[in-house]
Point group: C2
Chain length 119, copies 2
């Protein structure tokens, strides 16, 4: 059983929009992701997703509003709800979500990462 | 959809060993707990548990070793593994675990909290 230091793990990669798996439990995964700019609009049919800001800030855009998230804040996006994360500057985010979750949800494109690295 | 600020939620309670639910997703829950001292030895038959230190430090004791956890570090304790959290000073911890998880696992006693508050 090994502990995970978030800062150490974040130091191991620099790509944006490419979640890294750092933990598995109960069919769920803990992932770390860095991003900047706008992601694609998408939803997940069967998965709720948690976004916890570890460093920086971003906003989660929905079709009719957005939620601004700062360090130490999290948001759970329920399944079925279309969303798009947007960050003016690079942000570091921890995700909790089912292992089955595809980053781009119901869409696929150049930002889709089907097989995630483990750190 | 409302975001959760961890510091604001931790400011709402002071009891030890009494996890508060702050999020639900995919049959799992996000809980916040403060504690100091030694918990009871226990395990969970069917649930893996994640402990992420938000403020302070503690050690997770196992029967044959222990793991020291600092701020920004997490540990996943797999189902079936006997464990006991111990903190010399008060620590603030985020838990991620199935909604079915009883804090004292296979044991019940004065530290058991069967019905958790939501914040």
């Amino acid at each position: 059983m090994r502990k995970v230091n978030l800062q150490e793990k974040f130091a191991l990669f620099s790509e944006h929009w490419s979640p890294k798996i750092v933990g598995d439990l109960n069919g769920q995964q803990v992932k770390l992701v860095k991003f900047q700019g706008s992601f694609v609009w998408h939803h997940h049919d069967d998965e709720d997703e948690l976004f916890l800001v570890i460093q920086g800030r971003f906003r989660m855009e929905f079709r009719d509003h957005s939620v601004a998230l700062e360090e130490g804040e999290f948001l759970i996006v329920p399944r079925g709800v279309e969303h798009r994360p947007v960050a003016d500057d690079e942000v570091w985010v921890l995700l909790f979500e089912p292992a089955t979750t595809l980053n781009t949800g119901n869409t696929t494109g150049e930002l889709t990462v089907a097989t995630l690295d483990r750190l």
